[in-house]
């Protein structure tokens, strides 16, 4: 059955309206809505989405909205999803613009945000657990993951380079294994 444009609109409007803390916290909400609720994506699709969203230009949440919209309903779906994601921010910021001086350093506003930022931590953690333990990873997967974590935590190395270097090494290992026809690649060919 064709996904309704209205469903895409409502879903991403909700995501845009209620998610704080940037793209990584949104992943948790996007997973819940698109994988579990609507089944527009599988968890494996979701992982590809994260790879693409992280290694291409632009805000991660916008990339994700475009990806899901385009997958379900083509160009129109991509435009509707992205528009819906951006709309709440746009309206909220335009309104806040006139009261911004009152908000800066406001006690209640800061208190609410302090609570939210503790919750955002948990959302990012859950997104990580859900995605990282979805498939069985081999030794290379774990090693690459740990290296990428350390490099991006302790250095200012560019995110794209981390992914590109990892992808290149992965590709070489994959092709070498494929040539020697080790069990891993055989199994995937049969599927």
């Amino acid at each position: 059955m064709k996904t309704k444009l209205w469903d895409l609109f409502i879903t991403f409007f909700k995501i845009g309206l209620f998610t704080f803390g940037g793209g990584y916290a949104m992943l948790s909400v996007i997973e819940r809505e698109t994988v579990q609720k609507h089944q527009w994506l599988t968890t494996n699709d979701m992982m590809s989405l994260v790879v693409i969203a992280e290694s291409t230009p632009g805000p991660i949440a916008v990339n994700a909205a475009t990806y899901v919209g385009f997958k379900q309903r083509g160009v129109l779906g991509a435009i509707v999803s992205t528009f819906a994601l951006v709309l709440p921010s746009f309206v909220i910021i335009s309104c806040l613009y006139f009261v911004i001086d009152a908000l800066i350093g406001n006690r209640w506003f800061d208190a609410a945000f302090k609570g939210i930022s503790c919750c955002v931590v948990v959302l990012v953690l859950n997104a990580f657990i859900k995605l990282a333990f979805n498939e069985k990873q081999d030794w290379f997967g774990w090693l690459a993951m740990i290296c990428a974590t350390i490099v991006s935590l302790f250095t200012e190395f560019s995110v794209v380079l981390v992914i590109l270097i990892g992808a290149t090494i992965g590709l070489i290992i994959y092709l070498v294994r494929d040539k020697n026809s080790l069990p891993l690649s055989k199994k995937e060919d049969e599927q």
Binding site: F18, G22, T66, A78, L85, F90, V122, A132, E188
Partner: protein, 204 residues
């Protein structure tokens, strides 16, 4: 023309920054300064607000800069038009690039090159999420800690209450009601209320 240059500058920012809103921040700051759109202090103040309002960080910033720039010369409608131009500019590159990449990936999904590429790229992407988790965890619990090599860092701002709150939400997020975990959006709403109570009313 101010609206065209808003669109164009944010289009370039959307096109050239990879890794989400925070990666865009230094670039936007530079552009805003170079174009004389607003005082640096106004911008820095707003960054704090953009972090604590809903929606993608980059969109919030683009809307604000557009609004401020248009409003100063053309009033309210100018502000709204400016916000539209800046937001459209920052979103457009993603829209086009993602659609192009998705088309390629779908067509070559079973090719060894794409499979091998994802075989290496996926764990790195997971690593980046893990590092994002550690970063947001530290900024919530001990905001003065900076892990980047060679930067100043201290544990002075460490808060047991924030750590307890994180632990509380970890537990809450695992609880199942009618076989379903609590929706993440519910958790966010709840966390705002708890934040107001703990840090606002009781001033912990």
């Amino acid at each position: 023309m101010i609206f065209l240059s808003l669109f164009w500058e944010f289009f370039k920012i959307g096109l050239f920054t990879i890794g989400g809103g925070y990666a865009m921040l230094p670039l936007i700051m530079q552009v805003v300064g170079d174009m004389g759109w607003m005082e640096q202090q106004t911008f820095i103040n707003f960054v704090g607000v953009a972090e604590s309002t809903p929606g993608p960080f980059a969109i919030n910033i683009a809307t604000f800069v557009g609004m401020q720039t248009g409003y100063e010369t053309f009033g309210i409608w100018g502000g709204i038009l400016g916000a539209i131009c800046a937001t459209l500019g920052v979103v457009l590159p993603s829209l086009v690039i993602i659609m192009a990449i998705f088309s390629v990936i779908v067509r070559f999904e079973n090719s060894k090159l794409v499979k091998g590429f994802l075989y290496g790229a996926k764990p790195c992407a997971m690593g980046l999420i893990l590092s994002a988790f550690i970063t947001v965890f530290l900024s919530a619990v001990a905001p003065d800690v900076n892990l980047t090599f060679g930067q100043q860092s201290s544990w002075e701002g460490f808060s047991w209450i924030s750590l307890g709150l994180v632990a509380f939400f970890v537990t809450l997020s695992q609880i199942k009601i009618k076989k379903k975990k609590i929706h993440p959006l519910m958790l966010i709403a709840l966390s705002a209320v708890i934040g107001i109570l703990l840090f606002g009313v009781f001033q912990l």
